[in-house]
């Protein structure tokens, strides 16, 4: 429907694919050309008959008719040719199989080296297995081969057997008592021919489709010209494809070998030519084999041959089949826009004018369609093409500029390729696409500028930031695809992640600071402030009752949140700040660090990372999504979160040097602690030198000393940190950000205000650099804290030169680790996903693969969809008890009133 001029013709349906090895007779049967001449063209430029450009390889020039099938180049499938090899050669792809067959069979009679009774038994077994359990049949064949290879005397004819040595990919040697003898392809082919069909089955091959002697080539198939087209340069010279070059080399060598054989040359000369032929054929299949000379172009560039076309990132498989490039897609830098919905994406006009959607003209939308056509391709919202159904013609509006007239002539049934407009659905993606939330459906909002705009709340699922990240956008063009995207892919339907039970969308950084500042008890808002903050939302309704009336009406921040909560929502949870001196055990505590929502009112508790943060299971968003649906959460996210940002605009959030400075008193306390720790370490070192240091179980004295010192110094850093933090003001914005989880941690504050602490590389104190010391600033074999990378200064104080050096050493380890970890874990995940990708949870709850084999009898053994669970638990008992309790309380209170 979307592409009106494309009609499917169904002639045959592929039912199954059977792979096998091409037999020489098959190669000869399908060959339309026997290549015997190494020349490509005659003097007049026409192709030589019997050469590699023989016209019988198939038509490729425009207007040319194929002499074999009579078709033009569009219809001609191309035809194979062959080269009859003067002597057989090993196909390099089958070296390993040939080796295993030679080892498992008798060198004399070719039979499998196992007793006849056992062969009969195994044959029956493997045939039974192959029908139902092909996996097991393959495993059995492997075991049979291993067993037979051990036998050193043929149980059938009694011939003594020798070990076969194999040098990848094509050389075989027999280790006879008189010395090692090279097996020629003729010897090998003879042996393989002698293996009976039944025994081939036992070796894991199908004798009808893959007789082992076919793995030694007597004829080489030559692919059609369409596979190896030549290109004509401006100078009228023709440049041939790499495959043609390689084949040409093979033809020459083959011809030379044949002449030597006919002329009765000495065996050593024949063997040299034969070996050359073998190497060429092996390299023709794969030009990167070990022990085989590469075929090069003019002794410089190695040719790209068969295996090179398929292999690797740019190869046919990964580059052209898995990784096709697509139309109707766009890519540009992303930037944030907190004012659009989480479901939306801002699309630059320039992109909207290129991406189009086919719009079927109906009596209802014909006027709308005409407007698009009248605007033309350059004015947004316009159209790029018109498809006239009755003329079966596509008109490009860039070249036919009678837009008014075209618009008039539109009839129902025609199609208009119109620009992307507001409200269209598109798919938005950021690599690496590791989970399903990496591609989500967004509603288009066309904007000026040159970047894609997205709401900050969808950064977590994409793992996006704005330091130059680019994202891709794809336009679904059929009605089905668009409907599917709207129903399944829209952002709001991915608030909960199937990875674990919990929301993946939620606030980060400023949203969390804003939420905290709005909801703390000290925040009281004047009427003007309330209006300003509520104006960030689309709240329509009465002002709530003020929380304080005198001296002037004031509202709490919690009231602002309550306005947007569902009326009957109940929630109870701990805040992130519920730790340290703000710890709250029960709701009777004054620290406001337990969040309670009752009947849609935020009664107590501050909202911080645990309340509204991304990737925080069992927060308000999670419960809301499970119990009120994703649309409710979407509205909450779009309104309330914009309010949080507005709070920061009103109240301000900023950080300065002063926020990190600590009073002299604190500094002195820290100095005292440092002195104490120094003494302690000195004592430990003295004890160690004297040999009186108590060693830890399973450790050497040196290790014990190191561990004890690290322990002392880490304790020192923590103590210094807590001293520094205890002197920070509660409204210090650095402190607020760390405590609420918006950004930074206690350790970051410690390092800025108190001290950096011990720097480590591979979990050890820094000990290398010079032979006997880390830096020349220290004495030799100095085990003191400073000499081994202890930094006693903070970033605010500034570091000493030696400290900077130690810090840089530890910092580099971090960088190396991230680089190594991402690549390793990425590949690990890729393999896991490839292994699991076609498992399906069927309607009866079983997990099956694509053959219908059962993998699990009930998904996860409990049949629970992790997305719909409470962080893995199918039922949250505490929550149910709580809701029943609340329900009972409300009934009781109603009874009270009635009395």
């Amino acid at each position: 429907m979307s592409s009106p001029n494309f009609k499917f013709k169904e002639k045959y349906v592929i039912d199954r694919v059977q792979f096998g090895v091409l037999s020489p007779s098959e190669i000869r049967k399908m060959a339309k050309v026997t290549v015997v001449v190494p020349q490509l063209y005659e003097a007049d430029g026409s192709p030589v008959a019997g050469g590699l450009r023989d016209p019988n390889f198939g038509a490729i020039e425009p207007g040319e008719r194929c002499p074999v099938c009579g078709n033009t180049r569009e219809e001609c499938p191309g035809h194979f040719g062959k080269i009859d090899l003067a002597r057989p050669v090993i196909h390099p792809g089958f070296g390993d199989i040939i080796h295993s067959l030679l080892q498992a069979t008798c060198r004399q009679c070719g039979r499998l080296k196992l007793p006849p009774e056992r062969i009969a038994y195994l044959l029956n077994l493997i045939r039974r297995l192959r029908r139902r359990w092909p996996v097991l049949a393959r495993q059995l064949a492997k075991e049979i081969k291993r067993e037979a290879a051990q036998v050193m005397e043929c149980p059938h004819c009694g011939t003594r057997q020798f070990k076969i040595r194999y040098t990848r990919p094509i050389y075989f040697y027999e280790e006879r008592p008189e010395g090692e003898v090279r097996l020629t392809p003729i010897n090998i082919r003879d042996r393989l021919e002698r293996i009976p069909d039944d025994h081939i089955e036992l070796l894991g091959l199908d004798p009808k489709r893959a007789r082992p002697e076919w793995m030694v080539l007597t004829a080489l198939p030559v692919p059609p010209l369409a596979v190896r087209p030549s290109i004509t340069l401006e100078t009228a010279l023709k440049a041939e494809d790499d495959l043609t070059h390689a084949l040409n080399e093979i033809v020459r060598t083959n011809l030379a070998l044949r002449e030597q054989l006919l002329g009765g040359s000495p065996e050593s000369i024949v063997e040299a030519a034969w070996d050359r032929l073998q190497q060429l054929v092996a390299a023709y299949v794969d030009n990167e084999l070990p022990n085989v000379g590469q075929i090069t172009y003019k002794r410089k560039r190695p040719l790209k041959l068969l295996a090179q076309r398929l292999k690797g990132k740019e190869g046919r498989l990964r580059g052209n089949l898995s990784g096709k490039r697509v139309n109707f897609s766009a890519r540009t830098v992303i930037s944030p826009d907190p004012n659009i919905s989480i479901n939306e994406v801002g699309v630059p006009v320039d992109i909207a004018k290129i991406l189009t959607i086919p719009m079927r003209v109906t009596p209802d939308n014909i006027e709308e369609a005409r407007k698009f056509v009248v605007n033309g391709p350059d004015v947004w919202p316009g159209a790029t093409h018109v498809y006239k159904a009755d003329e079966d013609r596509k008109i490009d509006l860039r070249y036919n500029r009678n837009w008014k007239q075209l618009a008039e002539s539109l009839k129902p049934g025609d199609y208009v390729e119109r620009h992307l407009v507001n409200g269209d659905i598109v798919l938005f993606n950021r690599q690496p696409s590791l989970h399903r939330m990496s591609i989500m459906g967004h509603i288009v909002r066309v904007m000026s500028g040159r970047t894609f705009r997205l709401n900050l709340l969808v950064c977590p699922p994409y793992n996006a930031d704005f330091d130059g990240d680019e994202m891709n956008l794809h336009v679904p063009r059929s009605e089905d695809a668009m409907a599917e995207a709207r129903e399944l892919l829209l952002v709001e339907k991915h608030i909960l992640t199937p990875r674990y039970g919990g929301p993946i969308i939620g606030g980060r950084q400023d949203y969390i600071s804003g939420a905290y500042l709005l909801t703390i008890k000290t925040t009281l808002l004047s009427k003007e402030e309330v209006v300003r903050i509520l104006a960030a939302t689309d709240y329509v309704g009465e002002m709530p009752e003020p929380a304080i009336i005198k001296p002037k009406p004031m509202w709490t921040g919690k009231q602002m949140i309550s306005l947007h909560l569902p009326n009957d929502m109940n929630f109870r949870g701990k805040a992130k700040i519920n730790a340290g001196n703000l710890m709250c055990g029960s709701i009777d505590c004054m620290n406001d660090s337990i969040v309670v929502v009752k009947n849609g009112k935020l009664l107590m508790g501050v909202l911080d990372k645990k309340g509204i943060g991304a990737e925080e299971p069992q927060n308000i968003l999670h419960i809301m999504a499970l119990e009120y649906g994703h649309n409710t959460v979407k509205n909450f996210l779009d309104n309330v979160f914009r309010m949080f940002i507005r709070v920061l605009e009103v109240k301000g959030l900023t950080v300065s040097y002063g926020d990190l400075e600590i009073p002299k008193e604190a500094r002195e306390k820290i100095m005292k602690k440092i002195e104490e720790a120094r003494n302690e370490v000195r004592k430990l070192i003295d004890e160690y030198r004297k040999g009186t240091l108590e060693t830890l179980p399973g450790r050497t004295p040196e290790e014990s000393l190191e561990l004890r010192i690290i322990d002392v110094l880490n304790r020192l850093r923590d103590e210094a940190g807590s001293i520094a933090i205890s002197y920070l003001d509660a409204f210090n914005d650095v402190f607020v950000m760390a405590r609420t989880g918006a950004r930074g941690s206690d350790i970051n504050i410690t390092q800025m205000s108190a001290m950096l602490g011990q720097q480590s590389v591979r979990g050890q104190r820094i000990s290398r650099g010079f032979r006997t010391r880390t830096l020349p600033h220290f004495e030799q074999n100095d085990l003191s804290p400073e000499g081994r990378g202890f930094v006693s200064h903070s970033f605010v104080e500034g570091l000493r030169p030696t400290e900077v050096f130690m810090h840089a050493g530890a910092g580099r380890e971090g960088l190396v680790d991230t680089a190594v970890k991402t690549s390793q874990s990425g590949y690990m995940q890729r393999r896991l996903i490839n292994a699991l990708q076609d498992l399906v949870v069927s309607y009866d709850g079983t997990v099956r693969d694509s053959y219908g084999n059962i993998v699990q009898f009930r998904y996860g053994e409990d049949g629970a969809d992790p997305m719909l669970t409470y962080h893995g638990k199918p039922v949250d008992i505490d929550r149910i008890i709580e809701s029943v309790r609340l329900h009972k309380v409300s009934i009781d209170s109603r009874k009270e009133v009635r009395k």
Binding site: L122, L125, R128, L129, R132, W133, L136, Q139, L140, E143, D844, T846, R848, Y851, G852, N853, I854, V855, F857, R858, G860, E861, D862, G863, A864
Partner: protein, 84 residues
């Protein structure tokens, strides 16, 4: 390829060995009917598996295994005995 050697019945008492039972023909047919699968679509258990040898099950028999599950308390799985 049945392997020689005896298997001690003591392994049945081990706490990590779940309860195994050979289904009767009727039960097996019912299991297959309920799941809508052919016998070879079930997960396999080798004829050489120690438990299978203790139970003296033959290829084609279906074995019911009840095991403790961290998510579901108890879970029941079926495996078909394969001749290798």
């Amino acid at each position: 390829m049945p392997k020689p050697g005896r298997v001690s019945k003591k392994i049945l008492q081990h706490e990590l060995v779940p309860e195994h039972r050979v289904l009767t023909l009727e039960e097996a047919a019912e299991v297959l009917r309920k799941l809508g699968v052919r016998p070879w679509n079930l997960p396999m258990i080798s004829i050489n598996d120690p438990i299978v040898r203790i139970l003296k099950a033959k290829p084609g028999d279906i074995i019911e295994i009840r095991r403790r599950s961290p998510t579901a308390g108890e879970s029941i799985v079926y495996r078909i005995v394969v001749p290798y």
